[in-house]
């Protein structure tokens, strides 16, 4: 009983300590790195063209997390430089360009599907020399 209690405390204690500390820019950078890596792997591995598109969205989103973290007045540590408003506006432009890119890529995918009756990107080898 006491052993179980001790192990629970050993798990909960560091978690509790982590929730009392303040968030820094590095926390956001780690999240952005994980999102970016997931997106890169998604782009490389998926054979469905729409899966590749979703990977691109994840990559852009990971970059956005970094921009917003560097722009944030809350997360800036003592004496650390900050992007200020620039980061937020760049994140906004990235969201807009991601929407435009998704529209065009979806149109291309639908065209490919109409011509080849598949969305498997491995079958898109008509331009292979």
């Amino acid at each position: 009983m006491s052993g179980m209690l001790g192990s629970t405390a050993a798990i909960v204690g560091p978690m509790f300590a982590a929730t009392t500390a303040d968030v820094s820019v590095t926390h956001y950078l780690v999240v952005g790195a994980i999102l970016f890596t997931a997106g890169i792997v998604c782009m490389a591995v998926k054979r469905n063209a729409l899966g590749v598109l979703m990977g691109i969205e994840l990559v852009l989103n990971g970059a956005n997390v970094n921009f917003v973290a560097f722009a944030s007045p809350y997360l800036r540590g003592q004496g650390a430089p900050a992007l200020g408003l620039d980061g937020q506006v760049i994140a906004l432009f990235v969201i807009l360009l991601a929407a435009a890119e998704a529209a065009v890529a979806l149109a291309i995918t639908l065209n490919f599907y109409n011509n080849h009756s598949t969305v498997d990107v491995d079958r898109a080898d008509d331009l292979k020399g």
């Binding site: 490389a44 956005n64 003592q78």
Partner: protein
């Protein structure tokens, strides 16, 4: 009593950050792992929504709201429409080969190690935030988009001195217009071309077909001979 003390000591900003961060990263990994394209779309919606929560926690309310409206409300609906239009039974889940998965895992691990090393490398980024509470950020963003930087205005430099984002804003809006017109042109329903009379005659005349084949063979022979 101790529970009350623990509750009072918890930093809810940090707690919510961990909640949204785990949701965003977990569903992003779910997008990679899932084979079914419909599940991938669902996980992507949840991951992007959790990221919007992270933006709210970083004090970027306007960006978070735009993330929810444009990404989750617009782009993802577009993607789901794509999934529905192309979701024939064999393409709902296209499996990746195990060798590719292992290779991707190795590449992902090394890339992640590189990025994490970069994230932890600067000491100033690791200091906890000082937590200055500023005004809601949508007004400075809107003013910057029309060309006035109210956030950097001071007594000696009035707001009009520093240029805002009017030119990039215009470029992006025209770009969006051109791109959407192009997308509509690319994805339009194509009318099947009616064959012309001479092609119909050629296709029903067997003699014409054999003549055409003979011509092709002769030209191929000539090409081979000249080489």
């Amino acid at each position: 009593m101790t529970g009350c003390l623990m509750l009072a000591a918890i930093n809810f900003h940090t707690l919510l950050f961990y909640l949204f961060a785990i949701l965003a990263c977990g569903f992003a990994v779910g997008v990679v792992v899932a084979d079914n394209v419909v599940r991938m779309a669902l996980y992507l919606v949840l991951s992007l929504g959790a990221t919007a929560g992270l933006f709210f926690l970083a004090g970027a309310e306007f960006i978070g709201a735009m993330q929810l409206m444009i990404y989750v409300g617009g782009t993802l609906v577009l993607l789901v429409f794509g999934v529905m239009l192309t979701a024939q039974a064999p393409f709902v889940s296209i499996k990746t080969s195990p060798g590719d998965r292992v290779l991707a895992g190795v590449v992902a691990a090394s890339l992640l190690a590189l990025l994490l090393q970069a994230a932890f490398s600067v000491e100033a980024w690791r200091r906890p935030g000082v937590g200055e509470v500023g005004p809601p950020a949508s007004t400075p963003v809107g003013m910057a988009l029309v060309g006035v930087r109210v956030d950097e205005a001071s007594e000696e430099a009035p707001p009009g001195v520093r240029s805002g984002y009017l030119l990039p804003f215009e470029i992006v809006s025209v770009h969006l217009l051109v791109v959407l017109v192009g997308a509509a042109y690319l994805a339009r329903a194509k009318r099947r071309r009616t064959p012309r009379a001479i092609e119909v005659a050629a296709s029903v005349d067997p003699a014409a077909e054999t003549r055409r084949q003979a011509r092709t063979a002769a030209s191929a022979l000539a090409a081979g001979g000249s080489r």
